[in-house]
């Protein structure tokens, strides 16, 4: 059943309880959603087909682990799962969802490509009374009406932690650069805003001198960083909105004859294995996790949804925060993906 | 010698005279002081040219004299460097061929300029399609196309793509198209170069009717006898300048040739257009090429041809009878359904390269589509097929290459600014010579020439014939499908050159039939 879409460690990490997603908060209102308030028919998950719509290529370890986690959990529970991958194409994701409905899916888990643009698919699901649980990125609409609810990270919060780390890493202040995720991606946006707001608020001695997109990609991250280092040789810190870009930046810094972790501090987001190793080795200053192991929480939420108890509509997971102090231990425990 | 005929005074045509007109009506299209140069070449120098309503005006000159350039300047294809174009006395600088067409000038350019992939009917009506409710009425279009073309001797399903027609038939379509346009001036740049005698007659019929309607006609041709048949007046060009304007009947052939070539009349009379002696060649030995029972659906039905050393074989037949196909089939350029081709007594692999290695080369009929490689230089075009012979370890031997190119450029008098000039910049006839050089430099045992003298001037025609005759005498064979120097089985024609007799004497016509007849 290996799909070639998961790294060797992800399976282990997915089954590792310490690595599992932990709920941080379930939204201030504490509202909960059941099939009856949603207006869906009651079904027994074990007797129906559940559809999972992945938004992006599984070549990203985050995506691979996420898909693996959902697949594993469905198998563990004996639930029939069908799935699609839209490869970062919103249009395709609409089609995917509609295809799965046509194929008989009665419940859907959707990892949206973006907040907007899934209206037709969601509308069709709603018309057919097929509930949708969204994970990892939010969509516009009303919880427990257009969709059941959301499970995922607090992207702005992650960025805020990264900004605080940057302040710690550079107590004397200095020039810093941001490697942004893909333009127009709401995760990237939240991670930019969260970071710059926090810097502006609490670290006036940190100055963002370069802020360029590197498309969440390592090679691009390296290229862009190489250029930035030419025009800003005095850069002291780099905030990369995901780990792959951070790894690219590190390569660029080394090539420029500087030492990452000493001359330039690098902070990333995602908590992938390679990055956490760098944190442990002091090459990276810190890394904020984005936990992709959605399977258990997602199916728990669905089970609760079909019970009288109901499921909270906004579940924010507690992401790990890897620093020099805990990185090695996390690696030893197999907590990273 | 062909007698001048059909050269009547313009004034004798009552329709041609404008109301209250004088014997020589005012020119409808006129250019004065025209200059045009391209990088390195002065194509037109101070050219004055005028054509009157109701006259057929011959425009002649050797290859590269500037005829096509003059036409292109008059019709808005090129912008003149200096000088002006006047239409009915008013200055008219056409910004595009479209503008010229709208002003009533219809042109048949030297190279067939139709769209090969579109159907015959669509080509015929392009831009003027019959419409119904604002939409093209294609049924009517096809019907009318069929009717019109039938009158030009082209019996063809008008829905067929144009390129499936032979070049001659394409030329007829182009002529029909040009004449359909409501024009005051019709310009024809070598309309007959790929036509059969019978089609030429058809064309002349058209021309005479146009003249009767008071339409002015500019007629370019290298076939001097034709000029005397239809033209009223003549303008002779040499090296980009006009050297004589006169009534057609006032200039005899020898004078014409001497004017074109810029040589003394006596000289021309003595030596002919070139200094070639009649080649004597003997037909001897086993066939160099033996094609037997060639079959190809809809195109060839059991064609057999033998070509022996020293022999010139003419392939006769009408438009589209399959002569070009036969040549291509022998060359290995056309897949066959049946039949065999032996070269030098052995069957070769049926590829062009193998045929060339075995000593058979072909000069294709359509120089634009299948002949020249337009953006390569004259030099590169000449040695293109000879690359394997002048290459060592993959490297082109430049000395050898230059030797070949130099020899043939001189021998065939290819007029170019130099071997580095892009071949597409040469005049039509000179392009043809380049292609001929490409064939000859392969030192072939058999030469398949498909319309080899298309558009080349008197002097050069003799050169071509001279070169080809000199090959048989060196033990090569020669097979051609051109009408004017080999006899076509049904329509023997007089050649413009005195050597025709010798030619047909040693020629043997082979008939090829078409299927579905």
């Amino acid at each position: 059943d290996d799909n070639g879409g998961s790294s060797p460690t992800s399976g282990a990490a997915a089954g590792n309880s310490a690595a599992a997603q932990q709920v941080q908060s379930t939204g201030s209102s504490g509202t909960s959603c059941t099939y009856s308030t949603y207006g869906a028919e009651k079904v027994d998950l074990k007797n129906v087909t559940v559809g999972f719509s992945q938004s992006e290529s599984t070549s990203n370890p985050f995506r691979a682990t996420e898909t693996q986690s959902i697949t594993d959990e469905a198998k563990r529970l004996g639930i029939k799962l069908i799935q699609r991958n839209a490869n970062a194409n919103v249009q395709q994701q609409n089609t995917d969802i509609q295809d799965m409905i046509a194929q008989g899916a009665k419940v859907l888990i959707v990892a949206p490509e973006n907040s907007d643009g899934l209206a037709p698919a969601f509308a069709q699901a709603k018309a057919k009374k097929i509930p949708i649980l969204t994970i990892d990125r939010t969509v516009n609409g009303t919880a427990c009406s257009d969709f059941i609810g959301f499970i995922g990270s607090d992207f702005a919060g992650q960025a805020k932690i990264a900004a605080q780390d940057m302040a710690k890493a550079l107590p004397d202040g200095g020039n810093i650069a941001i490697l942004q995720g893909t333009s127009g991606n709401n995760v990237a946006q939240a991670r930019t805003d969260g970071f710059t707001k926090e810097i502006a608020a609490s670290s006036p001695n940190l100055k963002v001198v370069a802020s360029q997109t590197a498309n969440f990609d390592q090679a691009t991250g390296q290229k862009v960083m190489e250029q930035i280092l030419q025009s800003n040789p005095d850069i002291k810190g780099v905030y990369a909105e995901n780990d792959t870009m951070a790894l690219g930046a590190i390569q660029a810094i080394k090539a420029a004859g500087k030492t990452p972790g000493k001359d330039i501090q690098v902070i990333g987001i995602d908590g992938t294995e390679d990055a956490v190793k760098d944190v442990a080795a002091g090459v990276m200053f810190s890394d904020v996790e984005t936990n992709p192991r959605f399977g258990p929480l997602a199916f728990q939420a669905l089970t609760d949804f079909y019970s009288d108890k109901g499921t909270p509509t906004n579940v924010i997971i507690a992401d790990h925060h890897f620093t020099k102090d805990n990185a090695q231990q996390a690696l030893d425990n197999g907590d990273v993906y | 010698m062909v007698q001048p005929q059909g050269a009547q005074p313009v004034a004798a045509e009552p329709t041609a005279a404008p109301p209250g007109g004088s014997p020589a009506p005012a020119p409808v299209l006129e250019v004065t002081g025209l200059h045009k140069s391209f990088t390195g070449v002065h194509a037109l120098r101070d050219v004055d040219f005028a054509v009157r309503p109701g006259e057929v005006h011959a425009l002649i000159g050797e290859n590269g004299a500037g005829k096509s350039t003059l036409i292109k300047v008059m019709t808005g294809v090129y912008e003149p460097d200096e000088g002006e174009v006047r239409l009915r006395g008013e200055e008219a600088a056409f910004a595009s061929p479209l503008a010229a067409q709208e002003a009533g000038i219809s042109t048949i350019y030297q190279e067939v300029n139709l769209v090969p992939m579109m159907s015959v009917a669509r080509n015929l009506f392009l831009g003027r399609e019959p419409r119904r409710y604002g939409l093209i009425d294609s049924t009517r279009m096809k019907r009318e196309a069929r009717d019109i073309l039938r009158d030009y001797g082209v019996h063809v399903n008008p829905a067929r793509p144009l390129r499936s027609l032979g070049l001659g038939a394409q030329q007829m379509v182009a002529i029909a198209r040009a004449v359909q346009i409501d024009a005051r001036v019709v310009i024809m740049d070598e309309p007959t170069s790929s036509l059969e005698a019978r089609e030429v007659e058809t064309l002349f019929g058209v021309i005479r009717r146009l003249r009767a309607q008071g339409i002015a006609i500019v007629y370019v041709s290298h076939r001097l006898d034709e000029l005397y048949q239809v033209c009223d007046r003549v303008t002779v060009m040499r090296d980009g300048a006009v050297v004589r304007v006169d009534d057609m009947s006032a200039v005899d052939r020898i004078t014409l040739v001497s004017l074109m070539l810029g040589r003394e009349i006596g000289d021309v009379r003595k030596h002919g257009a070139t200094g070639f002696a009649d080649a004597e060649h003997q037909v001897k030995g086993a066939p160099v090429v033996a094609a037997h029972d060639l079959q190809r659906r809809h195109q060839l039905d059991g064609v057999s041809v033998d070509i022996r050393p020293g022999e010139v074989v003419g392939l006769g037949g009408l438009l589209g009878s399959g002569r070009s196909e036969t040549a291509k089939a022998i060359m290995g350029a056309l897949p066959l359904d049946g039949g065999t081709v032996e070269i030098g007594g052995a069957t070769t692999r049926r590829t062009v390269a193998a045929s060339i290695r075995a000593g058979v080369v072909m000069l294709p009929e359509d120089r634009k589509l299948e002949g020249i490689v337009p953006s390569l230089s004259v030099r590169e075009n000449i040695v293109l097929a000879a690359l394997p012979r002048i290459t060592r370890a993959g490297l082109v031997d430049r000395a050898k290459q230059d030797e070949i190119v130099d020899y043939f450029m001189k021998r065939l008098r290819i007029k170019a600014s130099g071997p580095d000039q892009r071949v597409s910049e040469l005049s039509g006839g000179n392009q043809q010579k380049v292609l001929l050089a490409r064939c000859l430099c392969l030192d072939p045992k058999a030469l398949l020439l498909d319309e080899p003298t298309r558009g080349i001037d008197v002097g050069a025609k003799a050169e071509v014939q001279g070169s080809s005759t000199s090959w048989p005498s060196r033990g090569s064979a020669c097979c051609s499908s051109r009408r004017s120097w080999t006899s076509s089985s049904r329509a023997p024609t007089a050649s413009s050159c005195s050597r025709t007799a010798a030619w047909s004497a040693s020629s043997r016509a082979t008939t090829s039939r078409r299927t579905r007849s």
Partner: protein
């Protein structure tokens, strides 16, 4: 009136019967059918794949599935429609993906800032102007279409990001806006596409503009010498393509109820693929709207099959299958379309 036939009227020569009897109108029915098959290799491939899918893929032959395929590709298929015109002239338009996105963003913005008229017209006008600029650079300044529209692709994307805070401000179509009516439901998008394809077919086959496109693609020089308005036609074709792409984006915004900013990336390649599978020559001069429609559907069906059977094996397996499928289909299509080879 000088339209003349050589035989008509007095003084005309009696044209002897040329004796060439090549009247090939008497084709047999079989020849005619193979002729159509040869011209419509894409359509034939579609039928083959479709029949195979119905026979061997569970759940494929399902009304809901067909609807999903059709509606999912209704608007993007319009990019291929516009692209057909461009490719017929021997050009190419790489900017349609960006234009699709820009059209959507402008429509969504317009629906919130001026109502349905602005929502509909703004993207059309901007797209048309954009196409006008591209067309002028190509037809008048004689720059290569590939490079002009590549720049256009960058520019439109940049412009879109500039008006949406680097792509992060997504304009939503207000709830209850009449603009939403346009792209609502299943049948409206499908019918819109069908109508536009039919209109496109008429434009191509039954108007002088359409014929000029074939002529330009077949031989631009000849078209020029035949007195066709080459430059004007070429400009128009880019205007048409951009406008159609903008319109598709606009309709799509109505369907998605927002102007998604990072949409449309790589759509130009899918459109080109559909056009070419449909039998249009990239070098221009031959092709058909019917073929393009077949190409679009063929790709959509393949996508659907891959989704059903291979998605669970990860995106790379889908890619591999996609590539293989495409290769096989074009091989079939090319074999069928042998007739196109120059003799």
């Amino acid at each position: 009136m000088s339209t003349l036939n050589p035989t008509s009227g007095p003084g005309g020569p009696t044209v002897p019967d040329a004796g060439v009897n090549v009247d090939v109108t008497g084709e047999t029915r079989l020849e005619r059918i193979t002729g159509v098959a040869q011209q419509q290799g894409g359509l034939v491939s579609l039928v083959i794949v479709f029949v195979a899918a119905c026979a061997f893929s569970d759940g494929f032959a399902d009304w809901g599935n067909f609807q999903s395929i059709l509606v999912g590709n209704a608007y993007t298929s319009l990019l291929a429609l516009g692209m057909t015109f461009v490719i017929l002239t021997g050009g190419i338009d790489l900017s349609v993906g960006s234009m699709f996105a820009l059209g959507g963003v402008l429509a969504a913005w317009g629906s919130g800032h001026g109502g349905i008229l602005v929502a509909v017209l703004l993207p059309l006008v901007v797209a048309a102007l954009f196409g006008l600029l591209q067309g002028t650079l190509i037809a008048k300044a004689r720059l290569a279409p590939f490079i002009v529209t590549l720049a256009g692709m960058l520019f439109a994307r940049g412009l879109l990001q500039a008006i949406s805070a680097e792509g992060t401000d997504t304009y939503l179509v207000p709830k209850g806006s009449p603009f939403l009516w346009l792209g609502d439901g299943t049948w409206r998008p499908i019918l819109t596409a069908v109508v536009l394809f039919v209109l496109g077919g008429i434009l191509l086959m039954r108007t002088r503009f359409g014929q000029a496109l074939f002529a330009i693609g077949g031989s631009e020089n000849a078209a020029l010498l035949m007195g066709l308005p080459v430059a004007r036609t070429k400009v128009l074709v880019y205007v048409l393509s951009a406008t159609v792409a903008g319109a598709a984006g606009m309709l799509n915004a109505s369907r998605l109820q927002s102007g998604v900013t990072n949409i449309g990336v790589g759509y130009e390649l899918t459109a080109i693929a559909a056009v070419i599978i449909g039998g249009t020559l990239l070098t221009g001069g031959a092709g058909s709207i019917l073929g393009t429609a077949a190409g679009v559907l063929l790709l959509a069906v393949i996508q659907n099959l891959i989704g059903v059977h291979l998605s669970q094996y990860g995106s790379s397996a889908s890619d591999l299958a996609n590539g293989l499928f495409l290769a096989v289909v074009v091989l079939i299509q090319t074999t069928l379309t042998r007739v196109r080879r120059l003799p």
